[in-house]
Symmetry: C2
Subunit: 257 residues, 2 copies
């Protein structure tokens, strides 16, 4: 099959181009299309939907995946998607995959996640897109089960006619593949980190603060991503970028009429 | 009236604590409650929902608004809200206001906006919250009309029992107050910047890229924020942080059953 008939699969992440998770993502899908990697040159966790304004960006081709085309940028995950379309591919890819993130991006964390923001950027630009995260933040995390489910999900979607704004947040439990119960389509749980700051004194006697937090699930629903992951399912949350609260919109106008 | 009976109004922004826009916001609402400012010590535009991980934060009280308590932080707008609740107020404020941003945050820009991310963070933390933006990015922008509408909106909401997750994205047209047609509750338009990168060569002969873009409205609806602003209305979009696409959720499970 000539390479121009294969789907073009753009891959990015927020842990940086050298993270084992993005290598796992490349391995999982390289048989499914023409893979091109455009990823940050350093870790960008917690960058949310940040874009780089006021500072120029660098973009350099690098040889780290053998025969897979790869570029690193000085920008955020969102910058990577923009640069990939405009300066690397010179077209929209058929699908954009982000991850595999080292660490969970379920529940409210979809909003803070650089992994998901890259995927959301692609979706806004009419590119079907999926973010993948493994519930193990360690560098040496085992991506075996993740690779199996990434392949399964991407292969099945490439066989369908995807909506151009399709956007999925996929989280994978950190257990061996034989313990995974299957794939569950879920809603985003209302579960979040309850933040606290660890206050310390620097050598000059001035205060500084480290962000810390404890994960709390306020949502008892059995249709949430948190529930699915606790029960060893791969969670798939379909995500949208229209943030309008339509229920509130109905009742609000009367305040100012 | 004793100050402990006044509502506590937390104010933050993404243009930094010295921006004229946040001063305009303080001026607009200082008669409505006990105002406390916790804002970034430098501009943070385009930071999206970024949080600071891996670097400690600074928090210092500063005297720039006379009798209004003000703190600057080294963090992002989202960090400011977290620090304000945990280390400044030691409680949730009654309302959180973010802005007034120098520049528009309508349509898809709600996702990239540091102004709106601070407001969204507050909403997630069960604090009713509003982001305000003026459609004039200049430092010397005229906030007269903005102050009038900020006061009107905040005063009216403080008289109601607000939902604890209330979150509004308010944009104000850059015209004199007498030309503003009123307040319109809207949905988020599907309108976005079509990005392009300006490619240049540095003195060492290496390429670098500046993000540029042209605003394009793909959404012909007359119920959108872009339509309202084009017709000189103040646009109010109610926003939610549950990003689940429930329509897609209904049809997706069959892919993997």
């Amino acid at each position: 099959m000539a390479s121009d008939t294969l789907p073009i699969i753009l891959i990015t992440n927020d842990d940086g181009i050298t993270a084992p998770g993005i290598r796992g993502l490349v391995d999982a899908v390289k048989g499914l299309g023409q893979v091109v990697v455009v990823a940050p040159d350093k870790p960008q966790s917690g960058m949310g939907h940040a874009i780089t304004i006021g500072v120029p960006l660098r973009l350099n081709q690098v040889d780290i995946y053998g025969d897979i085309e790869a570029w690193q940028t000085s920008g955020t995950p969102v910058d990577c998607v923009k640069l990939a379309v405009d300066k690397v591919l010179h077209r929209k890819p058929d699908i954009c995959l982000s991850g595999i993130n080292h660490g969970a991006n379920h529940s409210i964390n979809v909003i803070y996640s650089g992994t998901m923001s890259a995927a959301m950027e692609a979706s806004i630009e009419s590119i079907p897109s999926i973010g993948f995260s493994l519930l193990d933040y360690r560098f040496e995390a085992d991506f075996t089960a993740s690779k199996y489910y990434v392949h399964k999900i991407v292969e099945s979607l490439l066989k369908t006619k995807m909506n151009k704004h399709l956007l999925l947040n996929v989280n994978i439990p950190a257990v061996p593949v034989e313990e995974i119960m299957g794939i569950k389509v879920c809603r985003q749980a209302y579960a979040k980190y309850e933040e606290d700051f660890n206050e310390r004194i620097d050598p000059q006697g001035k205060k500084y603060y480290w962000l810390t937090g404890e994960f709390v699930n306020f949502d008892k629903g059995e249709d949430t991503d948190v529930w699915a992951l606790q029960h060893n399912y791969v969670s798939v949350v379909p995500v949208q970028f229209d943030l309008t609260n339509y229920e509130l919109k109905k009742v609000l106008q009367t305040n100012w009429d």
